[in-house]
């Protein structure tokens, strides 16, 4: 059975700076806001969701291990199926796949996939827990988590393949141009290559402008089977294919290639299921916690050989008007990262592009696109959780 996205809700994003007149809200309020927007768009009431499914992404500062039960009580949901994502940047892709499997099995007709987080207004005491390997063999060894590992991956790409910092810069600059055309994006300041090169180096070669910054926000999308899809939406966006990969390794499992993401396997599976090739894709919404991840995924999906990403960017326009539009809403780099809800930003932009609603940055004739997810820092490798969705309209 085909499964489609039939409702989308996305709140404005905020850094919660009250002195600048920004919205200050908690994750609970963002969850409520995004949920009501998505249900309203699909023409469903809260009670229509009784006996259905809720798939909720975790938060940056979880305050309880048993947590999704609190979310359903807050919202007044009475779901039959309750899924919780602990996949970091792969939450959206992973929960969409789980939701589709549940709908296809006949367990439920609808699943609301919800991500809402407020890392700028955290709940209570911040006790940032992490993986044992981070606590025991990274922090005491002088590593700064994501920032250090991103620097190491980018260094490897540069030293192995001759990639230049300007290649990473092109990604940051192009995505900012997209954000400036996206009314919903948080970061709107113009960005030139010169600005990029002058930005502070955090962990060579990773610069501040290679990295995401946190925002508060919420996104929700409603999924259902084909039968109900045309009733719930004028323009259902169909899930044509998907792929997931965890603890992916390229090469020797003890000493893998850190420049290859699990999106290589996930995108291959997703495209195969969709009966499509990379050339059929009208756009990519690639998980972008740092610029290097975008460059590596362009290679991994098959647009060029591993290591040729820099040269590919030299000759390819990745703007919404170009040959290969990438992160047409600004991506997380310029939209901001709403904590553990971040991957849903990419699904939201894909849905808008496929509905033809991305005014000002619309990819002409967009019919098929790929959304990726990457989450969880692996030890001695790239990221641990990877996924890809191929979404399309006819």
């Amino acid at each position: 059975m085909d499964v489609a996205i039939v409702g989308l809700g996305e709140t404005p994003y905020s850094r919660a700076r009250a002195d600048k007149g920004e919205i200050v809200m908690s994750a609970e309020q963002y969850a409520a806001w995004a949920t009501s927007l998505a249900l309203e768009e699909a023409g469903l009431s809260l009670r229509d969701m009784d006996g259905q499914g809720l798939a909720v992404a975790g938060t940056e500062w979880p305050h309880s291990e048993i947590w999704s039960a609190e979310v359903v009580q807050n919202l007044g949901f009475r779901p039959k199926l309750l899924l919780r994502g602990d996949f970091g940047g792969n939450n959206a892709v992973e929960l969409a796949v789980q939701a589709a499997a549940a709908i296809r099995s006949g367990l439920v007709d609808y699943v609301l996939v919800l991500g809402a987080d407020s890392p700028m207004t955290p709940f209570g005491t911040q006790t940032a827990r992490s993986w044992r390997y981070d606590i025991d063999y990274m922090r005491p060894f002088g590593l700064m988590g994501f920032v250090t590992l991103a620097g190491l991956m980018m260094n490897r790409h540069m030293s192995a393949y001759g990639t230049k910092v300007e290649h990473f810069g092109k990604i940051a600059v192009t995505q900012r141009e997209h954000a400036r055309l996206n009314p919903g994006a948080y970061v709107k300041a113009p960005l030139t290559m010169e600005d990029y090169l002058k930005s502070r180096v955090l962990s060579d070669p990773l610069r501040l402008l290679d990295s995401v910054m946190f925002v508060n926000g919420g996104i929700a999308f409603l999924m259902t089977g084909r039968e109900k899809a045309s009733r719930a939406s004028k323009q259902p966006v169909y899930l044509r294919g998907y792929g997931l990969a965890h603890n992916y390794v390229e090469g020797d499992p003890a000493m893998p290639d850190v420049t290859t993401t699990g999106v290589k396997a996930a995108a291959r599976d997703a495209l195969q299921m969709a009966g499509a090739t990379p050339a059929d894709l009208d756009f990519l919404q690639l998980y972008d916690d740092f610029t290097g991840a975008v460059l590596m995924q362009i290679e991994d999906i098959g647009f060029c050989a591993k290591g040729d990403g820099g040269k590919f960017l030299d000759r390819t326009d990745i703007s919404y008007k170009g040959e290969l539009p990438v992160n047409t809403g600004g991506g997380l780099l310029s939209n901001g990262q709403p904590g553990m809800a971040a991957g849903l930003v990419h699904v939201a932009e894909a849905v808008r592009q496929l509905r033809g609603e991305a005014s000002g940055r619309q990819v002409s004739g967009a019919k098929l696109g790929l959304v990726s997810g990457l989450g969880g820092l692996a030890y001695g490798n790239n990221l641990a959780n990877s996924g890809a969705l191929v979404l399309g309209v006819m």
């Binding site: 922090r139 590593l143 955090l202 962990s203």
Partner: protein
């Protein structure tokens, strides 16, 4: 004055930390498939055997990737006074991969391909972590 972050000692990782305090590197090796295992696990991630022993590996390796750490993010401010410093991915000669700081040379001069040897640095009383120094 903030302190460097300390590991959480568990029944699993105690042999490593006890040896590190004596400035000795101990890692696990699988008795079934013979592969070296870093970081400490409950079973061999290559063949699944729970039969792991603690051994002293060769202490030399090659830098696979390097970054110069310039800001504290999600770690103790105690690192600030040592910045900038190099952190590398080191592929050890016995076939396991480990992260560590590279000391004894300017951080900007550390390069992939450089040969290094394990050393130890005390980060607190009775707690030492592996670091690396370039081989001549």
């Amino acid at each position: 004055m903030s302190e460097k972050p300390l590991p959480e000692i568990t029944p699993l990782n105690k042999p490593f930390w006890d040896a590190a305090a004596r400035h000795e590197l101990l890692v696990q090796r699988c008795k079934r498939c013979g592969r070296f295992v870093w970081y400490p696990r409950g079973s061999c991630p290559y063949c699944g055997s729970r039969d792991l022993e603690w051994v002293k590996p060769r202490e030399t390796g090659t830098i696979y990737a390097v970054t110069v750490v310039r800001v504290v993010v999600g770690n103790s401010p105690a690192w600030e006074k040592e910045m900038p410093y190099a952190v590398a991915i080191v592929d050890m000669d016995d076939g396991f991969r480990i992260y560590g700081r590279v000391l004894g040379t300017k951080p900007e001069e550390v390069r992939p391909g450089m040969r290094v040897r394990v050393d130890f640095e005390d980060i607190s009383t009775g707690v030492a972590v592996p670091v690396f120094r370039p081989l001549p």
